[in-house]
């Protein structure tokens, strides 16, 4: 491959792609502004975004009554009145948008934490987000009285607030306890283990002591579900995603440097501690927003960055690709959950059932390629 051996060249004429540099990266320069991009990453990212958009339209079209995709698109741009327009914009669109956004932010958050901890098992869970949110939500369900169904409590606004508070408190506790004149990834991971274990035990205690009907409701929340979404769950999520995802994309270059290890990164001129705090804060905010909206949707933040990494062939998960794949996974899983089963299966179960075999298949195939 010439891409691997070609020496880096200086930029050619403005606006034209520079010849292939190391590691398949290409550069483009417009006057003083330069950008490096990889054809393979870009191709997969565009494909994933297109697939996500198709799934959004399909997700709105499929339901107890079928709505033709043409009508769906007309309703989405606001040109469709009547009952079908109502079904699209008020009933189905919030759910589909929530699914897409949850997938997006979980994918990005997972890519951030796996990169910054340099550990494929380092999902946002290790900063205590999921455990904290679970304690908050389960406490709200169990102590809030046994007569509520999950959807009623969710709609009243109690559980999202409790979950967000729990997630943020736990994350601050993990970061604060991991601080000793700076935060090392390794110590942070260990502190995260300890804090998460304690919080999970509290959740278990609440579950074991609760009445069985309440425990069922709490268990339903704990696998993650999109069944009780409305526009009020979309807006906070949308605001968080619109603010945090661009910042995350802007840190991308620093993420690559941070992977070299603290000493090298400091030597190259990266403010390691500030960078790490920023990345972790982004991951916490993103995943807390997702958990508040849909509960801890299983497995997305773990599997999606790993899949993105293997598809793109890079040394860390590309953020935008991870986000787009996350949206695809959650949207596809929700579509499957609504249409393939006689009763509505929580989306968190389906994301795992779909995502886990795919990762396993990638692992097996990858190893065959390596041994050839």
């Amino acid at each position: 491959m010439s891409a691997a051996t070609g020496a880096p060249r200086t930029a050619g004429a403005p606006g034209t792609p520079v010849g292939p540099a190391a590691a398949g990266r290409r550069g483009v320069q417009l006057g003083p502004v330069g950008l490096a991009w990889r054809p393979r990453v870009l191709g997969y990212t565009v494909a994933a975004i297109v697939l996500a958009l198709v799934l959004v339209v399909l997700g709105v079209a499929v339901g107890s009554t079928w709505i033709a995709p043409g009508t769906v698109v007309r309703a989405l741009v606001g040109a469709e009145d009547g009952p079908q327009g109502f079904i699209v914009t008020t009933l189905r669109l919030p759910r589909v948008l929530t699914g897409a956004l949850v997938g997006l932010v979980l994918g990005v958050a997972g890519a951030l934490t796996q990169t910054v901890t340099r550990n494929p098992l380092g999902t946002p869970d290790i900063i205590g987000v999921t455990s904290g949110a679970s304690v908050g939500a389960v406490a709200a369900i169990v102590l809030g009285g046994g007569t509520y169904s999950v959807s009623a409590v969710v709609l009243s606004g109690g559980i999202p607030v409790a979950a967000t508070l729990g997630a943020l408190v736990a994350a601050v506790a993990v970061y604060g306890l991991g601080w000793r004149g700076g935060v090392q990834s390794y110590r942070l991971v260990l502190v995260g283990i300890g804090v998460s274990a304690t919080l999970d035990a509290v959740t278990s205690y609440l579950l074991v002591r609760a009445k069985i009907t309440v425990a069922t409701a709490a268990s339903q929340w704990l696998v993650g579900s999109l069944s009780s979404t409305s526009w009020s769950t979309v807006w906070p999520l949308l605001v968080v995603a619109a603010v945090a995802v661009p910042i995350a994309l802007a840190t991308s270059a620093a993420l690559g440097i941070g992977q070299l290890g603290d000493e090298v990164a400091t030597g190259v001129g990266l403010a390691v501690q500030r960078h790490r705090l920023l990345v972790l804060a982004l991951a916490v905010v993103l995943s807390a927003a997702a958990v508040a909206a849909a509960g801890p949707v299983g497995f997305v933040a773990f599997v999606v960055p790993q899949v993105a990494l293997r598809l793109a062939g890079t040394n860390r998960p590309p953020l935008l690709l991870a986000g787009a794949l996350g949206a695809v996974l959650v949207l596809g899983a929700d579509l499957l959950a609504r249409s393939a089963f006689p009763w509505q299966v929580p989306v968190g179960i389906v994301t795992t059932v779909v995502g886990a075999p795919y990762l396993i298949w990638l692992l097996v195939r990858h190893r065959k390629e390596m041994s050839r």
Binding site: N119, P120, R187, V191, A197, A201, S204, Q306, V364
Partner: protein
């Protein structure tokens, strides 16, 4: 073509290879005394832990919801006292103490091996699907076969654990015939999540299963007789033998697979022995007391902080810390809850979590 190659690599004669013992003999006096001091310190750690384990066992025999004096417990133990004391001691306290110590030691060793092989501080013995496989089997036992007694649940848990970990090994070895750590951890996490999702699916549709599962999954030593231990014992014994056999190879693997190969270890054999040991130990322990993830996750870190990364010391220390920890947590759970005791898995994590955080903050941690 020439026949044979010139001998460019000089093979060291056995006398010049530096074994630890020879290094200690030939080292300068200062290093030798430092080595001896380190050994003394480690022996002291082991001694303190043995004393702690004995104390925890005694406490486990003495305390419980039935208030028995020391003399009554002794009389019950020798079957000379009242029938109540005898029933409490032999029906509850002896099994709990034995199962608790065994389970704790097994999980401690399994966790150490797991983190040594995957070189990942987040790896717990359940990572290869042991806990989730056992959990799914238990739930299936309840929902399909209507099994509820602990004596029968053990067999379901054992079968599920073994099947799940065989699946994980097959997935990772499927490609190239090696079992290298990162794909193994990923495959394990994927299979575990898949089995967990199926468990959730069943549990959410069937309240009886949820009721059984939520009690099983926290991990408890209550209501277990010695037949549970007898069922798990063969697994635990073989697992322990494999673990001890794996110690030298693990130390070599800690230097990286290439160096280990250079030192004469067969990496694949070492991995398979280690993974077999982990599976058997974790399966036996999980079947006996439910998935107590916290022990396998944290005890190895404590052991390494106490005696360093060498597995010759870290292995027995992990076993001792694990056993003492589970017993202490069980006693505390019996005391704080009154008649409705708190399950040992919950106590372990609630009390052990903060302690572990403190250890992670204080000690200059030995990273993997």
């Amino acid at each position: 073509m020439r026949q044979g190659y010139p001998k460019l690599v000089r093979v060291p004669s056995p006398e010049t290879v530096l074994t630890p013992a020879r290094a200690a003999r030939t080292a300068p006096a200062g290093a030798r005394s430092a080595h001896r001091a380190a050994t003394r310190r480690r022996l002291l750690v082991v001694l303190v832990l043995v004393v702690a384990l004995v104390a925890a066992s005694v406490a486990s025999m003495l305390f419980g919801s039935n208030r028995l004096g020391v003399d009554q417990v002794l009389a019950g133990l020798t079957r000379t006292g009242s029938s109540t004391a005898e029933a409490v001691v032999w029906g509850s306290r002896v099994p709990r103490t034995l199962i608790g110590a065994t389970v704790g030691a097994a999980l401690g060793i399994a966790g150490l091996l797991m983190q040594g092989h995957t070189r990942n501080p987040l790896a717990d013995p359940g990572l290869f699907g042991v806990s989730s496989g056992a959990g799914l089997a238990v739930v299936l036992g309840v929902s399909v076969f209507g099994v509820t007694s602990t004596g029968a649940t053990v067999w379901f848990a054992l079968a599920g654990a073994v099947v799940a970990s065989v699946v994980v090994f097959s997935v990772t070895v499927a490609g190239s015939g090696t079992a290298s750590p990162v794909p193994l951890a990923l495959a394990g996490a994927a299979v575990s999540a898949l089995l967990g999702a199926i468990t959730s699916f069943i549990v959410l549709t069937d309240q009886d299963s949820l009721d059984a599962y939520r009690l099983w999954v926290v991990g408890t030593l209550a209501a277990r007789q010695l037949d549970v231990l007898a069922a798990a014992a063969p697994f635990l014994l073989v697992g322990a033998v494999l673990a001890v056999w794996n110690v030298r190879a693990l130390d070599a693997l800690g230097l990286g697979a290439e160096l280990a190969k250079g030192l004469g270890e067969d990496v694949l054999v070492a991995r398979l022995v280690g993974l077999g040991g982990i599976t058997l130990l974790a399966a036996g322990a999980t079947a006996a007391a439910g998935p107590i993830g916290f022990v396998g996750l944290t005890v190895p870190h404590v052991a390494r902080a106490l005696v360093g990364t060498g597995h010759r010391w870290a292995l027995p220390v992990s076993a001792l810390v694990g056993a003492a920890l589970v017993l202490v947590a069980d006693v505390v759970g019996r005391l704080v809850g009154g008649f409705s005791e708190v399950e040992v898995g919950i106590v372990l994590a609630v009390l052990g979590g903060p302690v572990f955080v403190a250890v992670a903050r204080r000690r200059s941690l030995v990273s993997l």
